[in-house]
Amino acid sequence: MASLLKVDSLTGVTTAGSISVTGEGNSTTTNLQQGLAKVWVHYNGDSGHTIQDSFNVTSVADGGVGRGTVSIANDMANDDYTLQYTDSCPDTPAINGLYIHTFLTGAYSLASVNNSGSYTDGLNVCSTVFGDLA
């Protein structure tokens, strides 16, 4: 039984973009490609939207106070993908809300707001995308 496989790419036999992986319970399978995050990024919303770390991201544009647009390197197949996010907030004013402003195949934008509903810069904006690559 192989314990180490060296390979640069994985492709399904029946369908190139579909490989099954056996789950932790040793019986149910899950789809490898569908379960992988296609985009993730951690950027500073208060200092030029500097990317701290990322995957499949070309840039984060400053869209004004509290707003940033993440450009995706390899586009998603459509704008139906799922997108989760979180943020840390400065002491004053507290950020109580972060939400998605736009979904596009090649980009998405997030906005952070304070208690009053006004845009305010977050400190550590993190987001992750799951869905189909183009």
Binding site: M1, A2, S3, L4, L5, K6, V7, D8, L10, V13, V21, T22, G23, E24, G25, S27, T28, T30, N31, L32, Q34, G35, L36, A37, G66, N78, D80, Y81, T82, L83, Q84, Y85, T86, N96, G97, L98, Y99, I100, H101, T102, F103, A111, V113, G117, S118, Y119, S127, T128, F130, G131, D132
Partner: protein
């Protein structure tokens, strides 16, 4: 050509970027979803069986392949119909209805008024062990 490959570790052809297959299985999302809470159909999803509209701002999501327990993890994203600051919302699992290995019940409230609202895009991602 093999249809099933059993291996403990993956590396690139140069022998770098090693990752145990346990991380491939454990680190992959087991379910994710994007749906409009005005209805009960998916925009896109993985391992999602159905949505139940319990009331305004409150939907149950059922996965197709069950988790091994009710202790899995989830996280949110979303968008209201209008994308300005006053349309921010908060999402969480309903506190008095415990998740099961297949079902979670989610609540979305307007951030300012705390009234129940349907998100135009409710995005949920689930991580954990499959049964």
């Amino acid at each position: 050509m093999a249809s099933e490959l059993r291996v403990n570790t993956l590396k690139d052809a140069a022998g770098n970027n090693s990752i145990a297959t346990s991380f491939v299985a454990g680190g992959s999302a087991k379910a994710w979803s994007n749906h409009n809470m005005s209805g009960t159909t998916t925009r896109a999803s993985l391992n999602i069986a159905s949505y139940i509209d319990n009331s305004a701002g409150e939907h149950s999501i059922t996965v197709t392949s069950a988790f091994s327990s009710a202790n899995y993890c989830w996280s949110y994203g979303g968008k209201r119909a209008s994308g300005d600051g006053t349309n921010c919302f908060d999402a969480c699992v309903v506190r008095n209805i415990n998740p099961t290995s297949t079902v979670t019940r989610h609540s979305v409230k307007d951030h300012d008024s705390t009234s129940d609202v349907d998100a135009e895009h409710l995005c949920v991602m689930f991580m954990g062990d499959l049964a």
